[in-house]
């Protein structure tokens, strides 16, 4: 039964667990329960990816109503891959969570926190798995609403304004998406993605569909924080609780990128997006501008979380740059970096969480001599940071390789050079941490601290191990990404 209903169990498991969290008494059992659920979700995701690899795309008709009339789940290589990523980060972050949560969130709110976390996870998974355009919107809102709540739990009052601004911009984005879906529906009469894709062929010369495309693109770029629509992101990442930042930074924008890919390539088709709408004319400069502006801003940040947040904006630029080439290699680069960046950023933010747990600050000025005070965590941060720079033998290198190859294949030499220059900017901002941690003396009045507990170390190092291991064993990431890219460009859903 599990095999046949794999797609729905993937979503229902965390969804079912969320209300149960609220009911569990005594509350100390909530976390173990959530933990089991999250790892089971990961297991399902792995099974599903395996099934897709073995026997091709899976379709699941919800309510037993076949596709254009009912809602369909459609799992192909691309979304199985993204689902695995989201489930993996979810499980890892939840394993890491309890100490950090105890520190940053009031005791009696914790069960609700975990419930909201699970809802966020459900929302993200739901977005990825569905084959129905409107269903995307519904699950987008589930993840967004829970994210607003999770962000607002930060200790700093600025967490509240960050959450509010995200709510306003996120809702504008979602409403734009709603308008886009509405216009598409209007011209085709269907909401099913595959059905949309085939029916749009006949009407995609119409101005209505062009506008629908524009609105969807704008709405999604807002959600995925492409420069200059990234303004909600830095504050949200900076002031959210550590665990939330780690989870959201690694997954939320990535899922939006996935939706973007799905809409642009599967539904509208590359010919329409690139041939008619010339989306690359807009995407490429914006991605490059985002990479440079955000990297430059990151260099001057004094708050480590903020620094990483701007770095995220830059990294999203890389992903979108790859996509903007519209070639197989370019898409491979985008998809592979989507996965790789999630691993690295997840690890980095988990390290930051451990630092905050012990030092109670993430201001660079307070981290002098951290290499001596928290050697293991500092080293972890540096390792993950190297990945961000794109040093060989890390996943970052794999992404950069494909991106450069794509640029050169497309004949965009100057772009390749710009990408390389920008990775040096990453070197600068990561090195600010290195020099603070290893070259500044430990302040005299600094109290002795011990490393974060093992339960936090293990998940962090797991991500780092993946960020290095998958930089060598690339068939899992780049191999799948390449196949997914081929499918996307072939236009077949």
């Amino acid at each position: 039964m599990i095999a046949a209903h794999l797609p729905i169990l993937q979503i229902i498991l965390p969804l079912l667990a969320a209300p149960i969290c609220v009911l569990i008494r005594p509350q100390k059992f909530v976390w173990p329960f959530v933990l089991i659920v999250s790892w089971a979700t990961l297991g399902l995701a792995a099974m599903m990816l395996n099934q897709v690899l073995l026997s091709g795309p899976i379709s699941y008709a919800l309510g037993g109503w076949e596709a254009p009339w009912g809602i369909e789940y459609r799992v192909d290589l691309l979304n199985a891959f993204v689902i695995l990523l989201v489930a993996l980060i979810g499980a890892v972050v939840l394993t890491y969570a309890p100490e950090s949560v105890k520190r940053e969130i009031d005791g009696d709110r914790q069960p609700y926190f975990y419930a909201a976390f699970l809802l966020c996870l459900t929302g993200l998974l739901g977005i990825c798995i569905t084959g129905d355009a409107f269903n995307v919107f519904v699950f987008l809102e589930i993840s967004s609403l829970s994210t607003y709540g999770l962000i607002s739990l930060g200790r700093d009052r600025r967490a509240l304004t960050a959450a509010y601004n995200y709510l306003i911009l996120g809702t504008i984005g979602a409403t734009f998406i709603l308008i886009g879906i509405g216009l598409m529906y209007m011209m085709t009469g269907t909401l099913n993605m595959a059905d949309l894709a085939s029916r749009l062929q006949g009407v995609n010369h119409t101005r209505t569909i062009q506008v629908a495309f524009a609105f969807l693109s704008v709405g999604l770029t807002l959600k995925l924080a492409l420069f200059p629509l990234h303004i909600w992101l830095p504050n949200a990442y900076t002031y959210a609780p550590s665990v939330v930042t780690a989870f959201i930074a690694a997954t939320a924008t990535k899922v939006s990128v996935y939706v973007f890919l799905r809409f642009v390539f599967t539904i509208f088709g590359a010919d329409f997006a690139f041939g008619t709408m010339h989306i690359d004319y807009l995407l490429l400069p914006l991605a490059l501008a985002g990479i440079f502006v955000a990297s430059a801003v990151a260099i001057y940040q004094s708050n480590l979380k903020r620094l990483l947040a701007y770095s995220s904006v830059a990294q999203i630029g890389y992903i979108m740059l790859g996509i903007s080439f519209g070639t197989i290699t370019g898409l491979t680069a985008g998809i592979v970096h989507l996965f790789n960046h999630a691993l690295m950023k997840g690890a980095l933010f988990l390290a930051v969480g451990s630092i905050f747990l012990r030092i109670n600050s993430v201001q660079l000025d307070d981290l002098s001599g951290l290499g001596k005070r928290l050697p293991v965590t500092s080293f972890a941060f540096v390792l993950a940071g190297l990945g961000l720079i794109g040093v060989p033998l890390t996943v970052g290198f794999i992404s950069k390789w494909y991106l450069l190859l794509a640029a050169i294949e497309a004949g965009w030499w100057p772009v390749a050079v710009l990408v390389l220059i920008s990775s040096l900017m990453a070197l600068v901002y990561i090195w600010r941490f290195v020099e603070t941690a290893y070259f500044r003396p430990v302040p005299d009045d600094a109290p002795p601290v011990s490393e974060a507990p093992l339960l936090m170390q293990i998940p962090m190092w797991l991500l780092i191990a993946l960020a290095i291991g998958l930089g060598v064993q690339t068939s899992l990431t780049a191999g799948i990404a390449q196949r997914a890219a081929l499918w996307l460009l072939a236009g077949a859903p």
């Binding site: 309510g63 609403l145 829970s146 709540g149 209007m186 011209m187 524009a214």
Partner: protein, 344 residues
């Protein structure tokens, strides 16, 4: 052109034009007024007018919901927020040119997009040719429910509705995360109401409003009854779990407004309400899982009974109940948190 401008449609068009014009006036007024209270009331009016338009456009279920939510719940929440924050928008009024340009561009793009749209009301539009015909033609047979909106909502796209219920649950949870007092200060709120705490909410005025108190005692049971009617009659007329939940909650909100939040909380203790928040959603998922165990797909109600349409009835009954429970509980809870939060 003469095809579809008949006398009747012209009449509807006229009603339409008038309503839409008023809507524009209201929308512009909302932008212009400085007093937030006025703005909120205008927003309520906007919702109510939209509900009217929905009715003229045959969307009775939507109209019902918009009236209950937009004009009702949303206004109550806005007003509750106003009492906790500030009533006036800041004095200086500055026109934002950048905002104006963005809006003009966005609006311009949309209008450009309308140029190739099928005309309003055109029965040949693609939207009426594909997918929907099955709902209209076959759903009364397949599902056995006259209200096609209910069929689509609860069965064909029942999964969207599960998502919708989850959204409600998420919102309830998020409000709780945001507005719940941590334990130390929580005790202060939960302490037995003294004269002072009751007075602060302004509810003492209501103590003397004898007429209201008596009338409400009369009305509240009726409202509850109506909620149950809407809940179970959704298959046949407009309405369903969501609307019923809102109305059910409205009874409690009314009670709280007149007798004070503390009194309402004695009737519906927040901890208990929270349990119902979760239970509603669990009921919905449970129904889906039941069909899974009965050998169908998730939410495939057909398998719940020997006869397909009977199964559909059972399934829809349970999921609507789930929706109703969660909606009512979330709204009651949300109201408690909004109203129970004193000025810090």
């Amino acid at each position: 052109m003469s095809n579809f401008i008949s006398d009747i449609s012209l009449q509807i068009n006229l009603v339409d034009i008038v309503l839409l014009t008023i809507l524009i006036v209201v929308a512009v007024a909302v932008i212009r007024v400085r007093d937030l209270f006025e703005a909120v009331v205008l927003l309520g009016i906007f919702s109510l007018l939209s509900a009217c338009i929905f009715t003229t456009l045959d969307a009775v279920d939507v109209a019902f919901t918009e009236a209950a939510v937009g004009a009702g719940i949303s206004t109550v929440l806005f007003l509750a927020t106003l009492t906790l924050t500030a009533r006036e928008e800041k004095a200086q009024y500055s026109h934002s040119w950048s905002g104006f340009i963005v809006c003009t561009l966005t609006g311009g793009a949309l209008i450009y997009g309308t140029l190739d749209m099928p005309h309003f009301g055109d029965p040949d539009a693609p939207i009426h040719q594909h997918v929907a015909p099955r709902y209209i033609v076959e759903s009364p047979e397949e599902i056995g429910v006259p209200n096609m909106v209910t069929s689509v909502l609860a069965s064909y796209r029942g999964y969207d509705t599960l998502g919708e219920t989850t959204v409600i649950f998420t919102a309830g949870l998020t409000v709780l995360l945001l507005l719940r007092r941590d334990r130390r200060s929580h005790n202060r709120i939960a302490s037995p109401p003294t004269a002072e705490t009751t007075d602060r909410r302004g509810s003492h005025v209501m103590h003397h409003a004898m007429v209201l108190r008596v009338m409400s005692k009369l009305f509240i049971p009726l409202i509850l009854l109506f909620a149950l009617y809407v809940q179970f009659h959704g298959d046949f007329g407009p309405g369903g779990g969501f609307q019923a939940g809102v109305i059910f909650a409205a009874a409690f909100v009314l009670y709280a407004l007149i007798y004070g939040v503390e009194a309402a909380q004695r009737v519906a203790p927040p901890a208990r309400v929270q349990v119902f928040v979760a239970l509603g959603l669990l009921l919905y998922i449970g129904t889906g899982l039941a069909s899974l165990f009965a050998g169908g797909n998730f939410l495939e109600y057909k398998v719940l009974a020997h006869e397909a349409s009977h199964g559909e009835h059972i399934g829809i009954l349970f999921i609507e109940l789930g929706v109703g429970i969660t909606v009512a509980a979330v709204i009651i809870n949300t109201f408690f948190y909004f109203a129970g939060r004193g000025r810090a």
